[in-house]
């Protein structure tokens, strides 16, 4: 008890530092330095125990050399921030230390999951009583579920007999869709070649006419389309595919429509911005990660299906040691057999507790504020000569993502007369210096014909306008001397 309280003290101190914009986001060291041991922080494991005192030092050091993902100037990933209520939820979850497979050992949590899934399905616009879902370990697995269920619905014989009895099935996703779709196709035995990438417009949205064309082409080649994955909030450009147009095409060709709203799903909670996902109610399955826009601690991801019973039919094996039919309670709440897992971490409680704490409107306020910040950021950047937006015209409709190149005039002229390599190095160099100094964190990447550009993400509740100003100044400061 005393040990736990001392750990809590360390954690509370860390939380305070996290929210302090004067503190460094990280104290950067290279992997080899950590491996070699830093100031007595030895990662190697021994046969003999360490003292409790040493463990407390280890805990402090673990946090010291880590990254404060809740820091107001942490813009690095789509999931960021540190919600204190969510954190309390996760501490309780850890203390309860149970497993989602049966009501028997997780009575409250399995029922909470049912409540949350219904709520989310209702928000999507489905009939709650006819819909279904499950929380999974992250958006990639949720997307895998979408494709898995799509395949099962069309070809239930797959479960027993495998892909051998199926025609050459193909699925479609935009060229800006998340890479987990290809991962899933590889895992499921479909193959990445059978994921057909549909062209996007200049703003990163799937072009419906291209989808239609690709479907017809595939059919002509003797391939059998079975599923379209639409993206509601693409990873890089924050684009929203036109869901109604895609739903029309799916209806015409009788294809399963999965919407990857891992990131964009949170927008459904904003009455002002939910229109970006208009048409999602026509999807057959949806991925929605509360650990992104909604700020729930990692991990918290749901896959939802419009039709009830499919997840179960597709995945259940009825293991007799877990899912006994002769239990004392209604075994419909033993939901574990709907999953591809056996044991399953409790990911719902922190979301449930946050929802209680904020109410649906609380999430809305938070998400609308990100949008305001994004607009502000855009306006400031527009006025700067040495920044360039990747998609100028799009910015106003993007939710929380802005993308730009840093233009240093001398480098630019150098670039014009020399080669692209130098230009490509600007963002990585600025980022590297930022990390080393620990002042801010944001991501960069190349995309198609665009060389490395910064990708700004607004999903951190701690971020204020001043932090946004700071970031712009910081990039200018670090870029000046390149």
């Amino acid at each position: 008890k005393c040990f736990l309280l001392r750990v809590v003290n360390i954690l509370l101190h860390y939380i305070e530092k996290t929210f302090d914009d004067k503190s460094k986001i990280l104290d950067f060291h290279h992997p080899h330095q950590l491996l070699e041991g830093l100031d007595g922080f030895d990662l190697e494991l021994s046969d003999h125990p360490e003292s409790l005192e040493q463990l407390l030092v280890d805990c402090t050091d673990t946090l010291k050399y880590g990254v404060k993902t809740g820091h107001p100037r942490y813009f690095n990933q789509l999931s960021s921030g540190l919600d204190v209520i969510g954190l309390a939820g996760e501490w309780l979850t850890a203390t309860a230390n149970t497993n989602m497979f049966t009501y028997e050992i997780a009575p409250v949590f399995t029922v909470m999951e049912t409540v949350l899934l219904k709520k989310m399905c209702g928000i999507i616009g489905w009939r709650e009583t006819e819909a279904d879902g499950i929380f999974s370990p992250g958006g990639s697995i949720s997307n895998l579920y979408g494709i898995l269920v799509a395949r099962y619905k069309q070809y239930p014989e797959i479960k027993a007999r495998g892909m051998a009895v199926l025609p050459c099935i193909v699925l479609f996703v935009s060229e800006q869709g998340h890479y987990s779709i290809k991962k899933a196709a590889a895992t499921l035995g479909i193959g990445t070649d059978n994921v057909i990438e549909v062209k996007c417009d200049e703003r990163g949205k799937m072009i419906p006419a291209e989808l239609e064309k690709n479907i017809l082409q595939a059919k002509r080649k003797g391939q059998t389309p079975f599923c379209v994955v639409a993206t509601a909030g693409s990873t890089v450009f924050g684009a929203f595919d036109p869901l109604h147009d895609i739903a029309d095409i799916c209806e015409t060709h009788k294809l399963w429509m999965h919407v990857d709203a891992a990131w964009g799903g949170g927008l459904l909670l904003s009455r002002k911005h939910s229109c970006k996902l208009s048409g999602i109610e026509r999807a057959d399955s949806v991925t929605w990660n509360p650990h992104k826009l909604m700020g729930v601690p990692l991990q918290c991801s749901a896959v939802l299906t419009r039709e009830k019973g499919l997840l179960g039919a597709c995945n259940q094996m009825q293991a007799e040691y877990l899912f006994q039919p002769d239990k004392v309670y209604n075994i419909n709440f033993d939901t574990g057999d709907k999953t591809i897992q056996c044991g399953r971490h409790v990911d719902v409680f922190k979301l449930w507790l946050m929802w209680k704490a904020k109410g649906t409107y609380g999430f809305e306020v938070q998400i609308d504020r990100y949008m305001e910040l994004a607009k502000y950021f855009y306006k400031v950047l527009k006025k700067k000569d040495n920044f360039k937006l990747v998609f100028d015209a799009e910015v106003r409709t993007l939710l929380v993502g802005f993308f730009w190149w840093y233009f240093n005039v001398s480098i630019l002229s150098f670039f014009l007369f020399n080669d692209i390599c130098v230009y490509t190095q600007i963002a990585p160099k600025i980022k590297a210096q930022m990390i080393v100094e620990g002042t801010a964190m944001l991501s960069y990447q190349p995309c198609g014909d665009k060389v490395n550009f910064f990708r700004m993400v607004f999903s951190n509740p701690a971020t204020r306008q001043t932090d946004v100003d700071y970031l712009i100044d910081e990039i200018q400061r670090l870029g000046k001397d390149l």
Copy 2:
């Protein structure tokens, strides 16, 4: 801060209760009762926020209506117990709230994972520098990885082209193997029909001659064997397949050997009992869940491969927004692309901290103590007329699992003259009453020609001899009046 401290108080009180053998394990209610709301514990979610006071009540209620999986008389699952150091580790993990995909945002944790994987590979008996692995969300996913990598190793073209270009591949697992193997086969597009179940001896171990026969039969049928899954610690009978014999067969037929040691892997830490897994060093891949015998909080599971680089080659997609090649540090520590996930929960820290706290020898002491308790339990049961062991002769070599029927003389005679149904109901009825009274929890199930029997699991560090005595008395008490 004040809110967090008050939650911590609630949690500390719960932990105290958990370890108190006088407290009830659970306060049982039916799902519909929880859904309807119990004493103001309302699970429904609203548009408006609740007060912090109400949230604290909600937290208390969540624990009140849950199951104390760390209670000394909780024998219900292979993962049980509440390790306070592990718990502190999980609280810290939640506070750090980061993601395992890149070193960039999880520098300490990714390096810790490397250290732990090396340690575990070394303990298996592999060359650490040539081996590889990853932590995954549970044993079922780890088993899926084993089969996924086995398939990729034999047919690297699967990744791009899918199962269509493969022959009809089949894999083998004993009839007592875990159901996740079939789940994985269904998910991977192999199909459950192509999982060939190998017969076991009367103690639940795979019979090598049967495996050999099944392989030859499959080949004659035109099927292509590619993988054998051996089980080191079967779920129901706690049996250990003869790994050396299976390795010989795999070598002869050039098959991948995966060992599902999700449960039994912990035994490798006991110098006295690790011999049960002799031959595991010849495996190509291994599943090992520290959240089972080692008592690490849920979830903590590793899949390990003898050959380095396969997980990466099989799963990587090199998404440019995460795995930039031009980072400031050695990107070999960006291990996220080895997985089928994208975001990945930090499951390593609690294990690392527990290992620091106990040392390897500390795990050994704990595991050896389970074995002693199991032996004690066996001896006591042997002397009782009204209990019968499912496998009398095997018990001495079983680690922590004991299996028995409760024989109530009057029921037995009834059974002899009537039908099997009544007999089948004994265990469920006793269990139901146990749950309602909240006095103890253990599992039951039928298996093959054996009707419902109890399955006793020793993997709870809080359990003492007196708890075992109590359980036997309790079963007798509850069974008497059936």
